[in-house]
Point group: C3
Chain length 328, copies 3
Amino acid sequence: MAGALLREIADAVGGELIGDGGLRIERIATLEDAGADAIAFLSNPIYARQLGTTRAGALIVGAAFRDQAAARGAVVVAADPYLAFARLTQWWADRHGRRVDAGIHASAIVDGDADIGEGVSIGALAFVARGCRIGANTRIGPRVTLLHDVRLGERCIVHPGAVIGADGFGFAPDRESGNRWVKIEQLGGVVIGDDVEIGANTCIDRGALGDTTIADGVKIDNLVQIGHNVRVGAHTAIAGCVGIAGSTTVGAHCMIGGGVGITGHVTIADSVVLSGATQVTRSIAKAGRYGGPFPFDDNAAWEKNAATLRNLHALRERVRALEKQIAP
Amino acid sequence: MAGALLREIADAVGGELIGDGGLRIERIATLEDAGADAIAFLSNPIYARQLGTTRAGALIVGAAFRDQAAARGAVVVAADPYLAFARLTQWWADRHGRRVDAGIHASAIVDGDADIGEGVSIGALAFVARGCRIGANTRIGPRVTLLHDVRLGERCIVHPGAVIGADGFGFAPDRESGNRWVKIEQLGGVVIGDDVEIGANTCIDRGALGDTTIADGVKIDNLVQIGHNVRVGAHTAIAGCVGIAGSTTVGAHCMIGGGVGITGHVTIADSVVLSGATQVTRSIAKAGRYGGPFPFDDNAAWEKNAATLRNLHALRERVRALEKQIAP
Amino acid sequence: MAGALLREIADAVGGELIGDGGLRIERIATLEDAGADAIAFLSNPIYARQLGTTRAGALIVGAAFRDQAAARGAVVVAADPYLAFARLTQWWADRHGRRVDAGIHASAIVDGDADIGEGVSIGALAFVARGCRIGANTRIGPRVTLLHDVRLGERCIVHPGAVIGADGFGFAPDRESGNRWVKIEQLGGVVIGDDVEIGANTCIDRGALGDTTIADGVKIDNLVQIGHNVRVGAHTAIAGCVGIAGSTTVGAHCMIGGGVGITGHVTIADSVVLSGATQVTRSIAKAGRYGGPFPFDDNAAWEKNAATLRNLHALRERVRALEKQIAP
């Protein structure tokens, strides 16, 4: 059952085959881990020196490494080797029966009123409330919760434990009762486009008035929090442990690194890249890379620097005083 | 089914009606999104200029905007327009059947020994263990887990995926066995007051010896971690992705921004406001606003600054040397 | 049912009894909370002054406090009092029936193909997919999800809501289709050793090609994200809200503080201690303590410092200019 011939692989990824097409490939592996029964890929030139050491039976490479790879054995040359690798994993998963079958698991609770598209799969112990709409071929994992009036497009994947459509966090202080919080009922919904992937235990809140919206092709990792009325533009990728506060708009084709926090009511332009752990406290109007995690260090160095940091303003004043003193 | 007359709305929020009480309102919307069938509210004066552009059929405003709003059409004037808006959402949700009915969903697993108050609702696939006590009119969402001996007050709301009463994180190193960790069994419980709201996939651990306690009126957002033996004071609000380590005490009426981390065994005074992403490493004895996320920047600026930061202490020494040299 | 005699406790922890072995102990408490019916422990000398004020009926102390403790009443002297306390909590939990019974809850969904060891317990509404292997005496909490081909060792504890084996976050951009993301199917598994504890709502992703591996004795707190192909060494402890990005290796006997983020594809040496909220952006080759959360402050001080921080590089240039000017 396992495995494939190299020529089948070359066909599957649309690459050019050099070498023995009858070579039997039993698994896909990294350059480092691959043995004679495995195919590996080289995409990032940083790893080029591993061409000399890998024991892979076959390689997927780009045109630049064609000759060097062919010199050592069988090769599939692809215009974009990383993309070819991605396509190979999909073909491999299909071939080896790793895809989930359509259908609703007997233990899932799906409201009779929910509108479930063709080819949808809903996993064990998932819950789909009234008013939900799930587009064709979308996969709802085990133990996912979709609360009322959540709409998902086609070909989405929602991983276990995700909660979509819980109440946003909205309260008004009641000054006459000693600043108790009065709940603002969250009356909006959640609208998610096609080809969206949502990670395990991630939360996407429903809107307070209008909807929270996630556009087509957005990919969201695990343990991400997306507040009410957030809008995420198409094909943006959001890594794990990110928090996006309410009413913020994130553009299309952004890449949000792990642990990033974005404050509420701001707008992030298209094609913004945020390094991991950056805390975004204002809008970003221009595409580009932004960063700002505080640099870590060994503890002794950190403690000395932290002490100076606390008085950074005073240090600036001292420099200013020096400048005045020695001014001509 | 949907909608209400403006005079009903004015009555519901206890506001003064100016204009056509028979106006039919089909939805509540923001100033920006509202059409002629919608009511919107103005609370923050920052948005006052939208009075001139909104297409809302009616407005809720405070006394300060009474005349300006009345000049453009129907108005409900309220002492605190944001609070009036919150009350309107509640009235609206009740009227439109958006509230959850009392009762235990057939798929929930509730221990026979648990003490469930009147009017409690327990959602699909929730789990309530032995020894739990749930006060009247509390709503336990789908897929919530309450482990043994968790006590919740009245009128609480617990959102899907929340886990209350899991073991705190406590281990003693066993030096004789090469520093393996020996588990400290967590023998305490969790005690939660009235009117507490707990977000989706949030975790509140049981105490190691005594109880973890959350006082009345506390509001906790999604994906928050509250460690063992933490105590949170009344009417404190905790935004998403916050972590509070074990044995820390947070005062009453605090506001904890998203992504804040608070170390263990410290005490935060009443009425402390923490900006998002602040990392609290020591106790805070005085009410007030505290902050400290590192300022982000475009990547080139950030890299230059980060390099200087790593040698900040040396920079201070250089300033000191200069001061000595030019001292009179 | 509750309680034990002091001599039973001394035997259980292997300590030396001084005083009345027939003393009845009803509970274990902290020095601060203990009454005459409780036993408390003193481990950290910081709390030594509480020896004079605690009302505990009996104490567990180390040799250094033997005489001081005996002077006030009954004592159990142990070589390592914190470890003795940990052992006492285990003995206490066993004696009072707080342990979970073996067996699979009727509401759990366990694939017929999964390999379940002796003495395993699987909680309510848990899901165990095909191909999983669970070692003897491991406890799977309520509402845990183990996706296909996850292997867990013996005596592990997995807390509610944890998701093990969800897809890692891997996509290749397809430039020809306007940078849509193409999913990289995650073909690896998860391999977890013996005596591992995994917190509530924590996520451990399956590997992309090889496996994600967690070695023996690792302890992981709540809401932790562990990316695909991460390797965590034996007896490392990871506190709440930590994120470890894909393909990173963490050594053995490390201690990772709450809220720490570790970037992908780096290596952390054995016995590294990371202070809470540190953001690790490169490999750490040497054992030791590392830190780096930005120091918080009251808001006014923070704002002044932040403004200077943004221009830190310029400040360094000004110091350099001053040095040149006054150079002899």
